[in-house]
Amino acid sequence: MIDLQVELPGLKLKNPLMPASGCFGFGREYSKFYDLSLLGAVMMKAATGEERSGNPTPRVAETSSGMLNAIGLQNPGVAKIIKEEVPFLANYDTAVIANVAGSTVEEYEEVATKFNQTSDVHALELNISCPNVKEGGIQFGTDPEMAKHVTEKVKQASNKPVYVKLSPNVSNIVAMAKAVEEAGADGLTMINTLTGMQLHLPSRRPLIANKTGGLSGPAIKPIAIRMIYEVRQATNIPIIGMGGIQTAEDVLEFLLAGANAVAVGTANFQNPLILPELISELPEVLRKYGFSSVKEAVGKAVIE
């Protein structure tokens, strides 16, 4: 028997697979395709202090082996999420991770504090790729000092483990990871999307109404693997890896690079059953490459 279980701060996962934030709503839609109790965890869509309506459309565009998105944090606000969405997920035997977003440090704190109300959320994922309105739109996720500050504040506000989601749009991912580790982060999730743009030739306009969007999908997988590997060498907290996962072999590649668990985003769109399929295929792939458990494979890349 191949052991798929993974234990991470606040999270006892029956397997290392979960949907990535923003790609799975709050689980309702995919629950029509399969039983969400199959999943290791669910990463909910971003929550902000108040309801947000998001960006104008088009919000997505296809690229070679990838896609751009600029949804713009559309969500009903943290209070409604706790009232209406978390209870739905609590019906399932799966861990729940709340994605915390905001435009100011205070908003992050507010959202994190609110999630303390419910025991049905098991961990927070701090989405620091949002622009900081007060600092003139610089992303929390590209400045180590800002990332450290917001992580500290959220740690103080929250009684749940905090995973910080790292943006790949940086010169030095290790510096970012170390900054949030020092600030007390319990874990990391990586990578978020790379900023990209695509032009629609007939109109000469960006295909995404918001001009730029975040690039996800298999196109970015080599960047995710490199960053996870680099961060694994330099930090000690667990990593939930993501970025272009499509196959059970991809899952193993992330584990070898140093991820303790993985999330699948974009691949849900082309195949709504991708997560249960990967969960059922993973044991055979682990066995094929000589592992008897997920834990055993973590960080086992051989690199001289």
Binding site: F24, E29, M67, Q74, Q270, P272
Partner: protein, 249 residues
């Protein structure tokens, strides 16, 4: 909603760059309603292609799609040969409300590749004894398709932008020649729908919308449309059919 493999039975070009596909499957043909769409997952593409259900023959377990070659994905799809298995999931979205009993006559208004979902709708309406009048707008004679099929459902007007076939003009011009109807159902380019809903603002109307999609099932919030009540609805999940007065085009 399920993930299914559909087998391609027939494929032919029925107008310029316009393909008719007949597929077989035993789940979607059983449950799908007019106005719903399916999502086609092509190998080597990141996003599924949403395509409306143009017809269903439940007995034969046969589904018809009509699509226009618009880009890489639809071009590749047009190259499939009978026997091929196509990965799909669905049926997705809501459907056209049928309101049987309340209606005696309805108007179907389709523009270009917005025509397909109206055909399955028209067939269902006719089956319920409702009189169907159709106005189908195309760019030019070479783009016209399904005239005969709609004519079998009831009176049918064809309009072309350049007058090369049927009446010259837009569907909005033809609407004035249909004296009375209980409700209208429309699908086509946003510009057409905007003009129509303005022209027919005092009529009961249902429109089917398109937007670029990510998940096609309601999970990613890519395909939203602002509503008159405020906030956004998801076209793939709350639509693609909306009451005309419900959304801001």
């Amino acid at each position: 909603m399920r993930k299914v493999k559909m087998k391609l039975l027939e494929i032919r070009e029925i107008a310029k760059d316009t393909i008719e596909m007949k597929l077989t499957d035993n789940y979607i043909t059983e449950v799908a309603k007019p106005g719903q769409f399916i999502s086609i997952a092509l190998p080597n593409y990141t996003l599924p292609r949403p395509i409306s259900i143009a017809n269903i023959d439940r007995d034969k377990q046969e589904l018809t799609l009509l699509f226009k070659i618009m880009g890489k994905g639809t071009n590749e799809l047009a190259g499939f040969i009978p026997g091929a298995e196509i990965d799909c999931f669905g049926p997705n979205g809501n459907s056209f409300p049928l309101m049987s009993g309340e209606m005696t006559k309805v108007l179907l208004i389709g523009g270009g590749i917005g025509v397909p979902p109206l055909y399955y709708l028209g067939k269902q309406l006719k089956k319920q004894g409702i009189k169907v009048v159709s106005i189908l707008g195309f760019q030019s004679s070479e783009n016209v398709f399904y005239e005969k099929e709609f004519a079998r459902l009831g009176e049918t007007f064809i309009v072309t932008d350049d007058g090369s076939y049927g009446m010259k003009g837009f569907v909005t011009d033809a609407v004035t020649s249909v004296p009375s109807f209980n409700a209208y159902y429309a699908c086509g380019p946003t510009g057409m729908l905007r003009a129509l809903t303005t022209q027919l603002h005092n009529k009961t109307g249902y429109i089917s919308l398109e937007e670029r999609m990510g998940c096609t099932v309601g999970a990613c919030a890519a395909c939203v449309i602002p509503t008159t009540e405020g906030g956004y609805k998801k076209i793939c999940h709350d639509g693609p059919v909306f009451a005309a007065e419900e959304v801001i085009l």
